[in-house]
Subunit: 309 residues, 2 copies
């Protein structure tokens, strides 16, 4: 999108596709498009060609697939199964940093086993969005060694399948999770200790997401702090972290450059995309996002962090 003639690698994204019902102090949305794979794929599609992997039920609205197609997202890896689509419902209170789950119905996700289409096997960039770590490992078994794999996870898997989460972490180039999850996994209050500890488990890049407080990047030789973009109103924080991760990976794939300096840029682009996602429910704001809007906030992020010697 931003530099059409730059190196441009495809990116495969594996994760949940769902229908969300969400209640926030600023409104309600019922049965809207959600799921980590959706937010991250649409975000990444702003930068690179996305190959999506996931499962939908026979009730999944055709209009959502049409949206993905208009973003040039490859849907060969989407399985449609008999039964209802994955559903999540939750609410946010005054402090919107914390999602409260009302119900999770796995539905067709319960028996999902990702089958990576032959046409995806050589994808150089891979994002394993938050999903059962056994499924993340199964994806890694099916692909020819990609250039760069990032995995996300969550407290549910850290508590229930800790060993499998650690195995995923040991086999990927990058790992991302939110601050509470990093503290929980590493059993420390210090995010700096957690970041270094995660690096010690194998990945060469660790990104800790801190919601409204931005994100921290750890690599062997680098440490970077990105703020979040300041918003007066957040309507629905659902999908912010997935949008962020999709933006990061999308930008890395697009530029085909995972140097520390370029990861910094990718993180800022991820933050910018997430700042748009939370301005409305579901993917509404993200879907219509224009290149100029992304560039504008990127430049503002530079201005708001700069100080001289």
């Amino acid at each position: 999108m931003l530099r059409p003639n730059a190196p441009h690698q495809p990116l495969m994204i594996v994760g949940s596709i769902g229908l969300d019902t969400i209640d926030t102090p600023f409104g309600t949305a019922e049965e809207v498009l959600g799921g980590a794979a959706c937010y991250s794929s649409v975000a990444a599609s702003l930068f690179s060609q996305v190959r999506m992997v996931g499962v939908i039920g026979d009730d999944f609205p055709e209009e959502h697939l049409a949206v993905f197609r208009t973003r040039n997202i490859d849907l060969a890896g989407i399985q449609r199964c008999a039964g209802p689509t994955f559903r999540w419902s939750g609410y946010y209170e005054y402090d919107m940093n914390q999602a409260h789950t009302l119900a999770t119905h796995l539905n067709v996700m319960a028996d999902f086993s990702p089958t990576i289409p032959e046409s995806y096997h050589q994808t150089p960039y891979v994002f394993l969005a938050n999903i059962d770590p056994d499924l993340q490992l199964s994806v890694l078994e099916q692909v020819r060694k990609p250039e760069f794999v990032m995995a996300d996870t969550m407290n549910f898997w850290i508590e229930g399948k800790r060993d499998r989460v650690l195995e995923v972490i040991s086999r990927v180039d990058a790992v991302t999770m939110n601050d509470a999850e990093a503290r929980q996994l590493c059993n420390t209050a210090s995010l700096v200790v957690a970041g270094r500890q995660l690096l010690g488990m194998g990945p060469r890049l660790v990104i800790i997401k801190k919601g409204e407080h931005g994100a921290l990047m750890f690599t062997r030789n680098d440490y970077f702090v990105a703020p979040s973009f300041p918003l007066e109103e957040v309507k629905d924080p659902t999908g912010a972290g997935d949008t962020f991760a999709g933006g990061v990976l999308g930008y890395l794939a697009f530029s085909d450059d995972s140097s520390d300096a370029n990861i910094r840029r990718a993180i800022v682009y991820g933050s910018v995309l997430a700042s748009y996602t939370v301005e409305d429910f579901s993917l509404r704001r993200l879907i219509d996002l224009e290149a100029g809007e992304v560039m504008l906030r990127y430049a503002e992020m530079q201005r708001m962090t700069l100080f001289t010697a």
Copy 2:
């Protein structure tokens, strides 16, 4: 300190002087030097000539006064009264962002009424550290209009003397408080809304302190986000916010420049000083801090926030 030949204005600091007893997961300290005026004065003394105002009891150890004198801090505004010095005791749990108070004994602070010495009356920079807003207003009555006044406050006064806190805010150039206090005072979850709202009350500078997440600066035309310096271990967070504020004001007085660009620098210097304070109990680390250490972390703060277009 950093540029000995730059403009160099004196700074008056009014606030509590106390003896703290502190328990953290990393140790215990009993009857150690504490209080907002002490942390902020020693921090500011790294940059500028400090004139201190406060009250001590007849049990206040002479050695602490000696420390202030070695930092060239003017003690003409310190009243020694009969009775015990102000004491605070508290503890921190695993999450060190939150102090838990065990006991507050105002002692000689209970009847404290600051009398500003004639030799302080023309001080161009003033920091009204966290203290009863009636005392902050009384100080403003006694001084000839200073160039730049910053006030701090806390939840105790916001709850108990809200109108007086608002009057202080309306009469100063700058206000600082932590994120929870800004949310409480402005009755909003959004720090961006709170920052703008505080600007609307009169000050031309608002700094919201976010502990380990850094600080936000709001002015009419500017917004700046400073991270905190990443530490693997925090021994005792007491005084971090006061150190930060003292560092900010000390640098502004030293450079005699309250432009937006210079306030950004001052905030980063404040963050750097606070990062040293929390590495040990009381003012231990701050007292021996050397110029080179400050410059080193300032440069690291630049490196960790930089990203290019």
